[in-house]
Each structure stands twice: as C-alpha cells, then as structure tokens.
Point group: C2
Chain length 423, copies 2
C-alpha cells in the first residue's frame, strides 16, 4: 500500500495544480450545509467529503465507527479514537479517492451523496478547544523582545526555554467570522489618565498552531521524543491584538484584554502525517538546551506563510511572506516544556507559536513589526495606506508546503473588522 502522503498519488477527483488540497493532504474539518447539521469532512480539491455519509454508505465498515463520531459539532470525539485508527481511516479515504480504485470512482450515486462543493458548505470551528497556549518561538523577533521584555535579558532567556502565556479559548473563532473593533482603556499620549475607547492600533498576528490529539493525566510529562503522539495536526492562527490597550497592561503579567477579544483559526486541521515530507532541520540551539528539551531529527516544518489585506470593495494586497521553518523551538519542544511542570493536556487544546518573521524586509508577522522595521506605512494597491488595520479591512492568512510537485495547503484564516459598536 502506498503511503497517503506519497507524491505519486493521483485522485479521480480533479484537483487544480494550485489547490491546497491534493490527495496527499486530506485534512479534517467540521462543516455543515443548508440542509445538514455539523459533521466531519475531509477536503479534496475544491470539494468536501462527508465522512458521516461515507460511513453510512458502508465505505468505512471495517472500522465500525459509531456515526455520532462523524455527525458531530467538533472533531474531538474523532481525534479521541487515537492516532493509529485516525491514520487508518485517513489511509482508507486516500485509497477511496485514488485514481486506480473503482469503488467510489465508478459509483456516481455514492459520489453525489458524499461530495459537496466547498462553495456550498459552511466551515465550523473544527475542535472544542480546552486550553489555549501561545508561545514566542522566534528568538530573532527582536522587536517583540524590545516591546515586551527588557531586551537583552529577554533574548538570553529565550534561548533556555520557550516563553509562552495562557490565552483565552472562548473567543477563538473559525475563519470568516467578522468582529467589531474592540474597546479598551487607552492612555492618550502625554496624559496620565486613561480613556475608554475603540483601539486605534488594531493588528493581526501571524501564527501557526497545533491541536493536541492525546490527553495526559495531571503530573505526567511528555518528552520531545513522544510529543508527536500527542499532536493531531496544525492550523493557521491570527492572534489579533490592540496594541494601544497594551500601555496600561504592559506592567501586568500577561497580554490580557489587548489579546483576548478574538483569535481566528483556519477550518482545516492538516495532519502531522501530511506534513511529514516537509520536516526540515531546526535551528542550532546555542546555548545547549536542558535535557528535557533535547531532541533529534529534523523537527521544524517548512511552511510558507502569507498575509494579505483586502480593503472593502478592493483587491487583496499581499503584505508579507514568511516561513515557519526558522522557528527556534520545535512544536515537540513546546509540548515538552508545557508539560514539564506536570500540567495536564486535553484533546483539543490549542498551542500556537507567535508571530514569525524572517530576515528579509518583506517578511513580518504584524503591522507593528512592519512599522518599526520600515518606519513607514504600507501603501496598498488602491492607494490607501496602513499603519494598522482599518474598519472593513479583511485580513487573510494563508499557508502551504511545497515539494516534489506536491502542495499541501492550509486554506485560509480570514477575518473582517467591522466598526466599533456604540454600546
């Protein structure tokens, strides 16, 4: 049997060459249609495979999966089946979609029932998220270091351990969710007294996040070597922030109200299996890390990232290209660190790596980084300028891996900013 991520695989479903979802990807998500409730889906080309109907029609009979696993508001119950079973099911779907397999290819009636065009479905939040943790994984992000830490000490400590904080799970939403510009306490320049007003410094935050796929009990640590068993897959994440809310909060531990008003994630969870061919050598970690953070092998992932702004009634404007292969800490190290104090993890926990920026000037993970680096506003195609995100702007994050003619994409994490409410 050919592995589900083999570059030679072809599907009988036509997949455009620039599609994020070739047969090698097969990411999981939750969708509904006008006539159906929430259910588990797999993306293939510009279509979504309905796993619930696939199961009902008997194509997954070997696995004896209760339909409630697939007719579900979240992927958590599916993920709880365990990685070996989830992997086998994904492999079975790969076989069913394979150009050489007539089972579904030659059964038009079944195809009609199990496939939906993406344009006809509404993607949902894929997992019920328990806890959300946000890491700073990029040592070189010196701008952030300057802003948030007493810089030299900050850089030095970052090389001993991944720095993170607890985020807010309730306000994590799926791509496509609009939100009103948030309000908060802002200290006007030159004044000692704060005012309560809508943010004037709304920003995006380019991040990649992974979903915990296997729980641990309290007191149990996870090693870097076994971390992969606890990671189901990855999504894109926009960690929106209101920088001017920082002012009074800089002094407190935790990015609090300036961050927790909304967080946008992409709807498809790309499995670690699909990403395996894009693993790459990580950074040289100097000074040497403590034993619980040591690891071997190629553990970074070569994912191209792009951020675009689309003003109302205007074209998209690509404002940043980046890549997460330069992350200082691997996702396995993040999980080992997170659990090093015995903190338990649950299926559906979301662990993100904060804004990634490479060395070249067109690569940055937030408007703030760009402003500080370029010392000027960005000029968009429509002639307008941006230092931060305007009302009615849509920010779109995209990500994809590419190698040997195979493109494994994440889809989009997209969010539109509406004007502040008057209340």
């Amino acid at each position: 049997m050919i592995k589900a991520n083999d570059p030679s695989l072809k599907s009988w479903i036509e997949v455009p060459p620039d599609s994020d979802f070739p047969i090698q990807n097969l990411p999981f998500g939750i969708f509904k249609t006008q006539s159906s409730s929430s259910r588990v889906g797999i993306a293939i080309g510009d279509q979504v495979l309905d796993m619930s109907i696939l199961n009902k029609l008997g194509f997954l009979d070997d696995f004896k999966i209760d339909d409630s696993i697939f007719t579900n508001q979240y992927l958590n119950d599916f993920i709880e089946l365990g990685k070996p079973l989830c992997r086998s099911i994904r492999q079975r779907v790969s076989n069913l979609l394979n150009v050489n397999n007539p089972e579904l290819r030659d059964n038009k009636n079944a195809q009609y029932k199990v496939l939906n065009y993406m344009s006809n479905v509404q993607m949902q939040l894929p997992v019920k998220i328990g806890d959300y943790t946000d890491f700073y994984s990029d040592i070189e992000r010196n701008i952030a270091a300057k802003v948030h830490t007493s810089s030299k000490a900050g850089i030095s400590f970052r090389k001993h351990l991944p720095l993170g904080y607890n985020g807010r799970a309730s306000s994590i939403v799926v791509s496509g969710t609009s939100f009103h510009r948030p309000k908060g306490q802002i200290k006007p320049f030159g004044s000692d007294l704060p005012v309560f007003d809508s943010t004037k410094q709304l920003d995006f935050g380019l991040e990649v996040a992974f979903i915990v796929g296997k729980q641990t009990p309290l007191g149990k640590t996870v090693s870097t070597a076994t971390a992969e068993d606890h990671i189901f897959g990855l999504t894109l994440l926009n960690g929106w922030s209101a920088h001017d809310f920082h002012t009074p909060e800089d002094i407190q531990p935790g990015l609090f109200l300036s961050k927790r008003f909304i967080t946008t994630i992409s709807p498809w969870i790309v499995t670690l299996d699909a990403l395996e061919p894009f693993r790459t050598q990580g950074c040289v970690q100097d000074p040497k890390v403590l034993p619980y953070l040591e690891y071997s092998g190629e553990k970074n992932i070569d994912i191209n990232l792009e951020v675009s702004i689309q003003p109302e009634n205007s074209d998209e404007h690509l404002i940043s290209k980046s890549n997460c292969k330069n992350m200082y800490w691997t996702i396995e190290q993040q999980l080992a660190h997170l659990t090093s104090n015995g903190c338990n993890i649950n299926i559906g926990d979301l662990i993100a790596s904060r804004t990634i920026c490479a060395q070249n000037t067109d690569s940055f993970g937030s408007m703030l980084e760009l402003s500080l680096k370029e010392m000027k506003a960005i000029k968009l195609k429509d002639g307008s300028e941006r230092k931060f995100i305007n009302d009615n702007d849509t920010v779109i994050i995209r990500g994809y891996c590419e190698k040997n003619g195979v493109r494994i994409g994440f889809g989009e994490a997209k969010g539109k900013v509406l004007e502040a409410l008057n209340s």
Copy 2:
C-alpha cells in the same frame, strides 16, 4: 414565603452551630458514592441531598426537570437552566428542609434515599471550566506589586483597571486532590545557567473565585449593573505557585509554568443569593473609575478566610486569617472589565481574585508575603519551621460569612503536596 436566606429559618435536619451548611446556605456541588455515579447535590449540615433522587421521587415535579440535569458529571447543565429557575429549585429545597414542612420531614423512607452523610460521599469538580481568569484585586498588596511590576507604575495603574491574566483550566482540581511537587527551570543563585529541578519555593495562593452562570456572545459587554445575572456563585481557590520558576519567566508576559501545574478549588458553589446578607460597602475608589467600571450599592462581600498547614501526622496549624471585604475591585467590576473588549464568557468560566491580605500582620495570602513581611520562617505547633510548603504538607483554605447567628461557609479547598516524581 420566607426567603431562603432568612436568618430565622430552621431545618428538621440537625445542623451543628459551627457547620458551614445551615439551611440558609444550600450550596451546589457534584458528588458520587460507592454505589452511584456523579450527580448534583446540596449540602445541609453534615449531609448531602441527592437532587437526582429528590427529582425521581417527585419532590421537584413542578419544575419538570430532565433527570440528566441532575445525574451529571458537572453543574453546567443545571446552571444553564437560568438563574430564576435555579433559584426556584433552591427555594423549593429550602421549603422541603424547613422544620415546619412535613413533606420530607415525616417521610423517613424518602429521607433514607435522598440523604447521604458527607463522610460517605466523594466530592467532584463541580463545574466543567471553560476559561479561567485570575485577577489581582487587592491594591494594597504591595509585595506582589514589587515582585511583578515596576512598583509605582503598578500601584497607579491598578487604580484605573483590574489587572488580570489568563490561567490554565485543565489543571483545576477539586479539594482533596494530592499532587507531586512540580519541576521546572530554576536559576540557582549566582549562576547564569538554569537547571531543571523540583521547586524549592512551593507556595499556596489564597483566592476567592466566582463561576459564570450565563453566557454572552462574542462582542457583547456586561455592565456592572447586570453582572450579577451572569454570576452563579463563589468558591474558594488555592492558586499554587512555584516562586523559583518565576526567575526566568519574570521577563515574559504571564505567570506561566510557575502557576499552571495545579489549582485547587472547594467543591461547593455558594450562591450569590446565600451571600446577599453579607454584602458590604466597597473601598473608596480614587481616582474615579471610568464609566464602564462605575457601580452603586454595597458590592463587596464580608467573607472570613483562613489558611492552615497540616504537616504529615501532625495537627493543623492556622497560619493566616484574612477577609475579602477589602478587595479593591468588586466581582461585578471584574466581569465588566473582562467583557469590556467584547470577549465572550461561558457558563462554568472561573474568575478568581488573587491573594488577599489585610493590614494586620497575621493576615497574608501566601508564604512569600509572610516571609517578606515577617522576615522569618513560621514556626508550626510541631516545632518545625516553614518558609515555603514542604513535602507531605496539606494546605487547607477555609472561608465563611457570619451575621445574626447565621454562618454561611464554603467548606474547604485542601491539597496535599507529595514528593517530586523521579521521571
């Protein structure tokens, strides 16, 4: 009908005068017995009323509650019935337990089925906690200000807004749960290089927390005037910490691994209704707060708090007495602030107020505060000394209100520290 918190009420169940659970309290919790699965209970004296059986026997027929609400692992579904209905059910239980009501008083057979001695039940985590937020509500806690903030700015900003951070929900456990001394990166004195070792500065953190009882959608704010509608009740909370993990993390936003390894809460949720008679005038807030934080009426709560340490095979030693009536920010202000940026809240969210310490020297909310204030270790009854918490120590937090001969107690938030694991 006499209100359920009326001091004149008496139950036909004998309640010892120093009990936390007279008929005026009737807090909610989740318990199981050797022969039964998890279910909703109400504490009365030294007994627990089984709400599931009470419902099955027809005593709650007027409310037409599905039994799955009471035969449940968590209180969330019960809370979701809404405050008016929960209040009516609690009032009905008050009537059933009233000395003048023969319904249950004279029905020995039903009593036998619905009542369990506390010593025979095992209390569970009462709610499925979504997000956990921790506030610093005490302006005067200058020791903490010195540790965590650039002190003067810290104190000044604290008077404009409640400072908080996101905690970890997964590691919140019910009273009685033991845990192993956690490990983390510690920077030995005089060294630039961290080591990975068990904490030598394990501390408790005296806190009171409230449980969100009504959700809001994303973008919706909650005013101080309506906050009470969103608060189901209060519990005690021990926010354990490992101070020596702070060293490398001080520079990062958020108390992270130093705090998230475990958090202990008491099993009974005392309703706001039961606490109503103990509302008291809050602090004078100067400077004047912004309009969204303004409130009227007596909104602090006069709750006596006590912390004891019980070494292995030794007597309890009371080490601190405190009170939460001196909190600078009311719980209603905390909720208004938390939602001021449009962040949504869910039933079961836990919002805590960090360590409370009054002015007198025997009042402090952590060993660190005591050490810094007293400049010496505490001597326990058994002759041993403590600067921090030792292995095999049990820390017990208790809380109660008292007025007009009525004592409304919270029970205990108790946790025992086991030696660090070798793994």
